[in-house]
Amino acid sequence: MDTGDAAWVMTSAALVLFMTPGLALFYGGMDRAKNVLNMLMMNFWCLLIVPIVWVVVGYSLAQGGSAGGWIGNFDLAFFKGLSVAKGDEATLLIATFFGMFAVITPALISGAIADRMKFTAWAVFVPLWLLLVFVPVFKWVYGGWMHARGVLDFAGGTAIHVNAGIAALALALVLGKRKGWPAEGHPPHNMPMVMLGTGILWFGWFGFNAGSAGAANGVAVQAFLNTFLAAAAAGLVWVLVEKLRDGHATTLGAASGIVAGLVAITPCAGFVSGPAPIIIGGVAGAACAFAVGLKTKLGYDDALDVVGVHFVGGLVGSMLLGLFASPAYYGGDFLAGAFEGGGMKLFGELALANGATIVYSFTVTTLIALALKATIGLRVDEETEVNGLDLAEHAETAYHGTN
């Protein structure tokens, strides 16, 4: 493997790993003080369990087997047969890099189910969801039937954000609403923590998107630039919407917009160019700024807006890729978007891929949630919910009044 490529992808993998603690802070700050440790721990649990599951069977099921299929096989379980002596370092590196994505994808779901899920139920949900939902969809998008049809997803718009976003909705629906929601407010307890988490996410996202080029090349450079622009454009638009609609530009609006833009550019990062990242980010910023209001209108308790930001942002970005994908700019062999002379072919394939992901992920996540509800139980008791999950579930308190 080229040493420059190896150095960049290893660096990118570390950047993607850093996003999960960043996400934990982003969500934790938005949560209430009595539940912040539970939120952090749901994210850190993904850092503990997913690497093991990924190496034992996850990677093999997600990338093994023949091209064009539905699921991999067990041939690469425990990375069997790979060795540095045989020169397998490129496979080992990409498997590790993908493992970082496997860590953060279930972690994204945690925001929707804040304040009410039993930690043991979450602990079991994560590996089940990883193997039954993340792994098959990952296979379809990156080597399976969707890939064979020409579906594009540069770094995980469909495979990660649409997938986790709709799963978050399914799990939140089975769990039910937080006590008191929406009548009594659940405002963020620590906005500086949210802003720090946002900064870490943006920083890490350069590895997520530009690292997905798999090499230190021109595609990586353009993906890097697109990641820079789309996040700024989305944050800018979100804050403008707030200023015009509500009267104030808020820190949470800026943070949410940045994340919405990062989500939206993820499927597009190494496929679009020119003003496209600014347009994609801007549209996602506006769409998500309004989408976060849907939960109160429709009555589903997506506590920290995983659906409104990740599902909607991922879907917007993925569908806009159907308009802006530009093989001519990259000299690449992939379907062109409608604005790049490719007609509606790519748009149609992306609609099919997202539709299939939404139906599959929502259905299987609902089944996993119902199975857990019927066996070990999903929800904490009412007293724990009122007193906070930190003390009851983890025997810890984030902030003490004195000392």
Partner: protein, 113 residues
Amino acid sequence: MAKLITVIVKPFKVDEVKTALKEAGIAGITASEVQGFGRQAGHTEVYRGTEYSIDFVPKVRLEIVVDDPQVDAIVDTVVNAARTGKIGDGKVWVTDVESIVRIRTGEKGVDAI
């Protein structure tokens, strides 16, 4: 007889009130951060477009024990220092203190103030 003056003020007025009380020769003040509402009621915060009404707003409670003859002058000092003329300036009330002991010396009554 000793009196307890309890003062609820806006947090940003605490320094002015404290300075004025020290100039008036007060021996000690106990301060606590408290939350509450009066006629001002609470305020509204907006997160992701959703309005949250915050009923309890932060205030500072000052407790001052003085000898009876000083009470009116001290209350006036507090009111003058804490007033902005806007809603939410707070309240001052005075209650009787039955007994006081200075822990270090065991002094009692007005001597212990």
